[in-house]
């Protein structure tokens, strides 16, 4: 009786579900980044998380994911605070502030890991590339209803739910902070808090996704859904709604592609997503064809 569910679903079923969850979580939170013109902060947060993870490991002495998430969250907050503070000098623009902040943090993280190599068991390879195909699916837990599911998947599910609640529930406040600085200021506390909340959620989503897809592919998953959606529509609610659909397609397509090419499944999922993007770009109502037609 135990484990029959997993055997039914097969290993690849769980890989698919994990991919679905990761891309949905990233797509929803990333949409707000893309709309704000801040997509590279996703890259910054994912690099900046490294020292947070290393320190969390040193302090907690274990590979507990909760510790890592907390560490990454702190590092993410330090990073965003630094980005804001650096921009108070007129000579430092946002891109330079982002570059300096995450570069310093990442270098610090690498040096930390090298210094305490005997105590930190982090496989940098894994952190950077992840491998959704090998996520610890062996650890299972019981769910209500007699089902069993891998712990990693359940954890990701929680993160996805939290991200969805925040990105959809905080819609008004996030929207206010995204477009109109003046509006954000008059709306007061709401928009600013929403932005801080977004950064926090992003830090958590990014690190939760590390395990599955690694630090760099996460960036693709943050940006591709929204970028594709924007080839189809201009309206934000629709963009958010398209994210899970996109996740479904890329996760399924990516799994197939990865198995066929016999390569990293995470990378394949990104490539599948990129294919969707190119398709949307080519034939979408706001894409290439329409622009050419309107321009000519």
């Amino acid at each position: 009786m135990n484990g029959w569910w997993i055997q039914e679903l097969g290993l690849y079923g769980w890989v698919f579900i994990m991919g679905l969850l990761v891309i949905t979580a990233c797509g929803l939170s990333g949409s707000w980044l893309v709309v704000r013109g801040n997509a590279m902060i996703g890259d910054a947060l994912s690099h900046a998380a490294l020292p947070g993870i290393a320190i969390a490991y040193l302090i907690s002495g274990s590979r507990s994911t909760v510790a890592m998430l907390l560490g990454a969250l702190c590092a993410g907050l330090v990073c965003t605070a630094s980005i804001t503070w650096l921009q108070t000098r007129r000579s430092i623009k946002q891109d330079a502030a982002i570059g300096v902040s995450f570069s310093a943090l990442f270098a610090f993280g690498v040096v930390l890991i090298a210094l305490f190599a005997n105590r930190i068991e982090l496989d940098l390879h894994c952190v950077l590339y992840g491998e959704i195909g090998f996520v610890g699916f062996r650890d299972v837990m019981q769910l209500p209803g007699g089902f069993e599911a891998p712990v990693a998947v359940v954890r990701m599910a929680w993160v996805t739910v939290a991200a969805a609640l925040f990105c959809v529930g905080g819609y008004r406040a996030l929207l206010a902070g995204s477009f109109d600085d003046g509006l954000a200021r008059t709306t007061g506390l709401g928009a600013k808090m929403a932005t801080h909340g977004l950064m926090a959620i992003l830090a958590v989503v990014v690190v939760a996704a590390f395990e599955a897809v690694g630090a760099i592919l996460v960036v693709a998953m943050l940006v591709l859904p929204a970028a594709s959606a924007m080839m189809l529509t201009k309206r934000m609610p629709l963009v958010l709604a398209i994210a899970p659909v996109f996740a479904l397609i890329s996760a399924a397509g990516g799994l197939q592609l990865g198995l066929w090419l016999n390569c990293s499944i995470a990378a394949a999922m990104v490539l599948a997503g990129a294919a969707c993007f190119i398709l949307a770009m080519a034939i979408g109502p706001r894409g290439l064809m329409m622009r050419r037609r309107n321009a000519g």
Binding site: D95, I98, V111, V223, A267
Partner: protein
């Protein structure tokens, strides 16, 4: 007895290692130092232009986008050291930059979205390729670790020579095409119509950056090269504004940071060189951020502090004048209590400002010590302030048609920065009016203390 001995031991060790470093005996040291410093100069010089164009994250994008090229190059000969690897990387890099440009110009994507897309999707293609390769029998691990973190000590003399050539090229290019590059940074109609080959020169810049990133991958690793493109240049921008100086300062900072990185990497054998170079340049950034003479944090705080103290002094001068004016200019001095009361403060609170006035030679105490007189300098400044304040109120009232109760706050600010020239223009414009909107007399400079009679 033990601790000092231990310390001496450590210091002695430190000294021996440093000498060894400076003697350049070890090949590894030479490789790391020369390669690093050359990379630092190149990244600083090119980075200055990249950062000036707000394209700071281009290095990040490039260093990840080259991965498919690395994989493809590896596939050609199936050896890590083949020349096809950097060639493939360069091609991938160029494609990446072109894609970013395509996405932003044609598809109207925002620049950051385009960069994030290229960065991650290209990287995914590379990761797919490389993980696929690893399945092929004979496809050894394509040195991904080295790709990411570099191994400066293992640079061969060819690598260093390549770096040297690229850096030299970069410096010459930037010097020769300075004008076009500056114009290109603005992308205006002017730059396009000015006849300078701006587009071409721009393309050359990005090509050089790509080539440098590929060459630097080996020395410092992907993420570190992109950092070296940004951090020294950002540091430089806090010190100078004009591009030629920025280029030189950034190059120098890059060189120093990389040199220190090589040095500290030798002292602490377990630590990788690349990240240490970035850390040193970040330390440099932090120091300059705090201490830079004009734009630094401390300098800004100091200026603010001085400004607030000056304003406090001037407000007190004004209060003195108003007190004396109320008494019909009969008295020569004003009691400290009156001044304190006017500001709504206690005597203790006003004390420091009064001391400040005395120290600046604007006021002196009377013999009884409980009132102050103004010096000639103080008197003059007080008159200026009151004149400025009332002129500004009149101006706002006449020209901006603001009601009388909206004038005071603006004038409270304006009085401190209105200079003689502006005051004279205002007086002229207002027809040398005598009274402000509240009916008070607008004083004139140069009449002396006795000349404050209305109508004279």
């Amino acid at each position: 007895m033990e601790a000092p001995m231990l310390l001496l031991g450590v210091l002695g060790d430190f000294w021996t290692q440093s000498l060894r470093f400076l003697s350049l005996r070890d090949e590894a040291v030479r490789a790391a130092l020369f390669g690093g410093v050359l990379l630092g100069i190149g990244c600083g010089v090119l980075g200055a232009h990249v950062v000036a164009r707000r394209f700071a994250l281009l290095g990040d994008t490039l260093s990840h986008a080259v991965l498919p090229g690395v994989g493809a190059g590896f596939l050609v000969t199936m050896t890590k050291q083949s020349a096809w690897v950097p060639i493939g990387a360069a091609v991938a890099g160029v494609l990446g930059v072109l894609t970013v440009r395509l996405l932003t110009k044609q598809m109207r994507l925002k620049q950051d979205t385009a960069m994030a897309l290229v960065l991650s999707v290209f990287f995914a293609a590379g990761a797919a390729l490389l993980t696929h390769i690893q399945q092929i029998p004979g496809g050894a691990k394509a040195g991904l670790d080295r790709f990411l973190f570099g191994q400066a000590a293992a640079l061969s003399s060819t690598d260093i020579a390549t770096l040297g050539v690229i850096t030299l090229l970069a410096c010459i290019y930037v010097a020769v095409f300075n004008r076009e590059l500056v114009a290109g940074g603005f992308d205006t109609v002017f730059s396009r119509s000015s006849g300078l080959p701006v587009r071409l020169v721009d393309a050359g810049l990005f090509l050089l950056v790509t080539v440098l990133v590929v060459a630097g991958l080996q020395a410092a690793g992907a993420v570190m090269v992109s950092a070296l493109l940004v951090v020294p240049a950002a540091t430089g921008s806090l010190l100078c504004k004009r591009l030629p100086q920025l280029v030189m300062v950034s190059g120098a900072l890059g060189a120093v940071a990389c040199g220190l990185g090589a040095y500290s990497s030798m002292l602490a054998a377990a630590l990788p060189t690349g990240p240490l170079m970035v850390l040193w340049s970040s330390v440099g950034f932090g120091l300059v951020f705090l201490l830079a003479p004009e734009r630094g944090v401390i300098a800004t705080w100091w200026r603010q502090f001085i400004r607030i103290r000056r304003m406090d002094r001037e407000n007190l001068l004004k209060g003195w004048y108003q007190a004396v004016e109320r008494g019909g200019f009969f008295e020569d001095s004003v009691p400290l209590e009156v001044l304190a009361q006017q500001r709504g403060q206690t005597l203790e609170e006003t004390g420091p400002v009064i001391h400040s006035l005395e120290r600046s030679g604007l006021a002196t105490r009377t013999s009884t010590g409980d009132a102050i007189l103004l010096t000639e300098k103080g008197w003059r400044r007080a008159v200026e302030l009151v004149r400025n304040h009332r002129l500004w109120e009149l101006y706002l009232h006449e020209a901006a048609r603001l009601p009388a109760d909206h004038l005071h706050e603006s004038a409270e600010e304006a009085e401190h920065w209105i200079g003689d020239k502006l005051a004279q223009s205002l007086e002229k414009r207002l027809g040398h009016a005598q009274h402000d909107p509240h009916g008070r007399i607008i004083p004139r400079i140069g009449r002396g203390r006795s000349g404050q009679e209305p109508g004279t």
